[in-house]
Amino acid sequence: MTLDRMKRGQRCRILSIPSELIRAQALRFGIAEGEVVTCCEVIPAGPVVISKNRQEIAIGRGLARQIEVEGSF
């Protein structure tokens, strides 16, 4: 399952992030592969907003499609 399929309010574990550059940026924000995050907003056909604790990140739809997650916690 990929991140763009998440519904608002669902929690999921991030399994893989496609590019090394994005992985590095995500690590800085505290979001790494293996972390559990909350999907707090999905803009229709647009970005997905995820949060971990109080850190919120908006991720473009194209990228969200490439991020593998495993669902509901």
Partner: protein, 658 residues
């Protein structure tokens, strides 16, 4: 004194002065610390090759240097490169972190500690953290990091005395586990530990400096650092309550289309009222007409005429119609400066409040279809202020492809504020159906051009990946300071270009090239656009200053349809000479010429199309049917977009994140 690793950044430091560097994430309140330490004695210098300013000042017999807010120091963008270079040359780093965002902020803290420089941490925003129900065990944090940690509330100056007393107790902290050994191996090849760390993390710039291969271990080191930061946070942060405040709710509303679009419109409307009505009308009336044209220009003319007559060639160049000392100065200070300040004020307000990344999130979907991503909204908004300014701002976009597209669209479709005033005045007399026609045609050209470029250029838009900081009330002093810095910078950068532009135009005028161009354009204007001959003069004047072009149309007796055709053509026509020069400066000659040339083609193609369509649909020629023309354009846009979607399906995509 440590030798400076900042290539090109000349900071005069007295002998024996220590370099105290302020570092931290964006929006942690760093600037308040900087102002407190340096007081009034602040110098600003531009970091070579960037649009960024570095502030530095004296603190006792030492130097305090500010750095841009960053999440980490690598080579991801200009801000990081600068912060990296300044931190590597520091004698001690005062790292400002937000107590409410320790998980995010401590990553940079740990990275700075890993470089081996002495660090002291100011744990700022303790009051915000408390309000959010976050408790931080300061002593434990200090123990785990191995450096002093001082709790502060910068806006109330709480904790500053203690910070000053402890400042020079800064010391190297606990590095990320496992790094020491690897760094020691590199140390004999690379002079300093900080540089060794960055080489290990694969920083290409630092590696090149030492002539060694950049390491490939960034991810592994980042991961270990992240694990360490998470461990620290687990031990020192206690959440007593989880309240969602008003700000969080509002922040959500801003990014949902249903509520976000009205909020955005409200913000843009406020902007229009403040800039379009108040500044462009009242303020510019005073600055341009009363001060510059009323007092300054006659004085300069009088002074220069004592030496050279105005009718001579040097006289024309200096104080003629497009004079270097008259028009250029009036344009820059009388008209552009107030408008640019207004636009930067709003931009800083949006930035400081945390609204900007939310706008970017909201419009990301729309902009993706024209080859940009959410970040592209900044140059587009600024373009309505001044296309020259917006073109410079495209430097903050993540990829070269996006810069290309953004610059092209700015030059082609976005009317700048100087021009908008005149255009709005002319449209107001025509009635709503013509206004709709104008707006729709320009918008459809924007969509068509963006979609076409996005399809034809290799690659794909960089994906949005941004931090949404908590919303907060912006601090006026911060906003004003940012506005001042940005406006000053723009004017400094643009002034020579405007002067050069005026010089070129004056030379054209003296040599008769301007008239030649007007005559060249006249047949096209009459035959294809159905406009009077004199309209060609207005178009050519638009090269000098966009508002000159639009203003030139007001003197002509035009039918409503002719007015619309002329306005559409002049909006799409080439950007003003200063913008063209900026494009030549920022891009390759080939690309700049392409942009310039295609503006000519697009302007006359679209303007002529509207004129010919209108003639087709109203053979009687008395009442023009606007609706069919609009429908044809809508259909054309849909056809182009559809075709591009079809082409894209068959196109291999490579993904560049950003």
């Amino acid at each position: 004194m440590a030798h400076c690793h900042c290539p090109g950044l000349k900071i005069e430091a007295p002998a024996g002065a220590r370099r105290i560097v302020l570092a931290g994430n964006p929006n942690t309140g760093k600037s308040v610390f900087f102002n407190h330490f340096t007081g009034m004695y602040v110098d600003v210098s531009n970091y070579p090759g960037t649009t960024l300013d570095i502030s530095y000042g004296r603190y006792g017999s030492d130097m305090v240097i500010d750095t841009p807010g960053v999440y980490g120091i690598s080579s991801f963008n200009d801000e990081e490169r600068i912060a990296r270079d300044i931190i590597l040359s520091a004698d001690l780093v005062l790292n400002v972190v937000s107590a409410a965002h320790l998980e995010r902020d401590l990553f940079l803290t740990q990275q700075i500690i890993d470089t081996g420089v002495p660090v002291i941490v100011a744990l700022n925003m303790m009051d915000d953290a408390k309000r959010m129900g976050i408790e931080v065990d300061v002593d434990r944090l200090s123990q785990l990091l191995g450096v002093p940690v001082i709790p502060t509330v910068a806006v109330k100056k709480e904790g500053f005395d203690r910070l000053k007393a402890e400042l020079f107790n800064a010391r190297p902290g606990q590095a990320t586990p496992g790094l020491e050994e690897e760094l020691n191996q590199l140390l004999n090849r690379v002079g300093s530990r900080g540089e060794a760390l960055l080489v290990l993390e694969g920083d290409p710039v630092i590696a090149a400096r030492h002539g060694c291969e950049p390491g490939t271990r960034r991810e592994e080191i980042y991961r270990r650092r992240r694990e360490r930061v998470n461990e620290i946070c687990q031990q020192v942060v206690r959440e007593t309550s989880r309240s969602t405040g008003v700000a969080a709710t509002l922040g959500r509303w801003m990014i949902k289309p249903l509520t976000g679009v009205p909020i955005l419109f409200l913000a843009l409307w406020a902007m229009y009222k403040a800039i379009g009505v108040f500044i462009a009308g009242t303020v510019v009336g005073i600055t341009e007409e009363t001060i510059m044209q009323g007092i300054y220009e006659p004085a300069v003319r009088q002074f220069v005429e004592q030496f050279i007559p105005q009718s001579s060639i040097p006289g024309t160049i200096l104080i003629g119609e497009f004079g270097l000392l008259t028009m250029t100065v009036t344009y820059l200070l009388g008209l552009l400066m107030p408008l640019v300040v207004g636009f930067y004020f709003f931009l800083s307000l949006f930035e400081d409040s945390g609204y900007l990344p939310r706008i970017a999130t909201l419009v990301d979907r729309l902009l993706t279809s024209i080859g940009l991503n959410g970040r592209g909204v900044i140059p587009i908004i600024l373009g309505f202020g001044c296309v020259t300014m917006a073109t410079i701002t495209t430097r903050l976009l993540s990829s070269d492809r996006e810069r290309k597209i953004a610059i092209f669209l700015l030059g082609l479709t976005i009317p700048c504020s100087a021009q908008l005033g005149v255009i709005a005045g002319m449209l107001a007399t025509l009635g709503p159906q013509y206004l709709a026609l104008y707006a729709l045609v320009i918008f459809s050209v924007l969509v068509m051009a963006g979609t076409l470029l996005s399809t034809l250029l290799p690659g794909k838009s960089a994906d949005l990946f941004i931090d949404l900081p908590p919303l907060r009330l912006p601090r006026l002093d911060n906003v004003l300071k940012k506005t001042g810095t940005k406006s000053y910078h723009f004017l400094k950068e643009a002034a020579p270009l405007f002067a050069l532009g005026a010089l070129i135009i004056s030379i054209f005028q003296v040599t008769g090239i301007l008239e030649f161009l007007q005559n060249l354009l006249a047949p096209l204007t009459v035959g294809w656009l159905n406009l009077p001959r004199e309209a060609a003069t207005a178009f050519i004047m638009g090269i000098v200053r966009r508002d000159f072009g639009a203003a030139g149309l007001t003197d002509l007796a035009l039918t409503p349809l002719q007015t619309i055709v002329a306005l559409i053509t002049i909006t799409l026509f080439v950007p003003c000479i200063a913008s063209i020069l900026v494009i030549f400066k920022e891009r390759t000659k080939k690309e700049a010429l392409f942009i310039w040339g295609s503006s000519w083609v697009a302007a006359f193609l679209v303007g002529g199309l509207v004129a010919q369509l209108a003639r087709l649909f109203s053979p009687a020629g008395d009442k023009v049917q606007v609706l069919p023309v609009i429908l044809v354009f809508a259909a054309l846009t849909l056809a182009i977009v559809g075709m591009c979607m079809f082409l894209r399906r068959t196109k291999p995509t490579t993904n560049i994140p950003g």
